[in-house]
């Protein structure tokens, strides 16, 4: 969605309808990135609310959409990582067996597509945190290398090497999950 400067200015002056357009443009990104990083739905919902309330009061510093976009993306990633730390959930590489068992139990009742989705999701959730963030931004949100570098405040070469590692890990994890579940894609 293209946000004109007028919409942003209207939102700055307190127009909630204009702010809703900003929300509609960026909420899917924030929600999905946070969900993959935090891996907890209710925490993610809280985070999205908190972010968009904070953002409302900081809008005046970002009249240009490009700046606003990078700012929101960075805010989403940072807040998600902070929440992860706060909740003291260590980045365990392997999800608990019960989750896999749950998955197996729903395997019979769901369609093939949704099973494949679950397997991919499980493989992503097993990636180490710093690689997972890069992977999510590139594969799920289609961010460019430059954007990822800006969001994570790292060098573009670091982005490339993390992404390469993430993709290698993903292939390994995908095979592992498929074996655990006994599924051929």
């Amino acid at each position: 969605m293209n946000l004109t400067e007028d919409i942003i200015i209207a939102a700055i002056s307190g127009d909630l309808k204009a702010y809703e357009k900003i929300y509609q443009a960026f909420a899917p990104f924030v929600f999905n990135v946070a969900l993959r990083i935090i891996r907890n739905r209710s925490d993610t919902e809280d985070l999205v609310q908190e972010l968009f309330i904070k953002l409302f009061y900081k809008l005046r510093f970002f009249k240009r959409e490009a700046k606003l976009k990078t700012y929101i993306y960075r805010m989403a990633v940072n807040m998600s990582l902070n929440m992860l730390k706060k909740k003291n959930r260590e980045d365990k590489r392997h999800v608990t067996l019960s989750k896999v068992e749950n998955f197996i139990s729903i395997k019979d009742s769901n369609s093939t597509v949704s099973i494949q989705k679950k397997i991919v999701e499980l493989a992503i959730s097993r990636l180490p945190q710093k690689y997972r963030v890069c992977f999510i931004l590139r594969q799920l949100e289609d961010c460019s290398y430059d954007e990822i570098a800006n969001i994570l405040n790292i060098n573009i070469n670091t982005v490339k090497s993390r992404l390469a590692r993430a993709r290698q890990y993903f292939l390994v994890e995908l095979e592992t999950v498929k074996k655990e579940v006994g599924y051929e894609m």
Binding site: A27, E45, Q139, L140, Y145
Partner: protein
């Protein structure tokens, strides 16, 4: 080109279509010769072919409702406190400027006060000297004393 370098490039720039033409040609030439790298490429094609976006979920509708309600609440509660509202949204340099201005005015006011006090003291001493001069007929005090002489004495 070594297989290691080719694999690293395949995993990032090649798959994402961000290679310059000469390097892409070099890699393609390598792929024609190397079975291992070709197999590797077929394994990682998942990253360019598979639509990972499908994993994305819709944002629950109630989140916007909650955000909206909280913002409306805050807007109505801040209406009675309009004078403090813009103060918290000054930019960093504006706070610094205000701080410097305050310090300048503070020290300037102290100096002005000191000057006024000094002038008052001088006036008082001069009054006293004038009074002493007018009373005294002593030869030593015949000449009029000024403030400077008084300090020297």
């Amino acid at each position: 080109m070594k297989c290691e370098i080719v694999k690293k490039l395949l995993l990032t720039n090649y798959i994402d279509g961000q290679l310059t033409l000469p390097i892409k040609e070099q890699i393609d030439a390598h792929l024609k010769k190397c079975n291992g790298c070709r197999e590797f490429l077929s394994r990682i094609k998942i990253f360019s072919e598979k639509n990972f976006n499908l994993l994305n979920e819709d944002v629950p509708i109630f989140i916007w409702d909650n955000v909206k309600n909280k913002l409306i609440k805050r807007q109505t509660s801040s209406k009675g406190n309009q004078y403090t509202f813009p103060f918290f949204f000054l930019k960093k340099y504006q706070y610094i400027f205000a701080g410097v201005l305050f310090l300048i005015m503070f020290f300037a006011s102290i100096n002005v006060y000191k000057l006024i006090a000094l002038h008052k003291t001088i006036d008082l001493i001069e009054d006293h000297l004038a009074f002493i001069n007018s009373l005294s007929s002593d030869s030593e005090l015949e000449e009029d004393l000024c403030v400077d002489d008084w300090f020297i004495l």
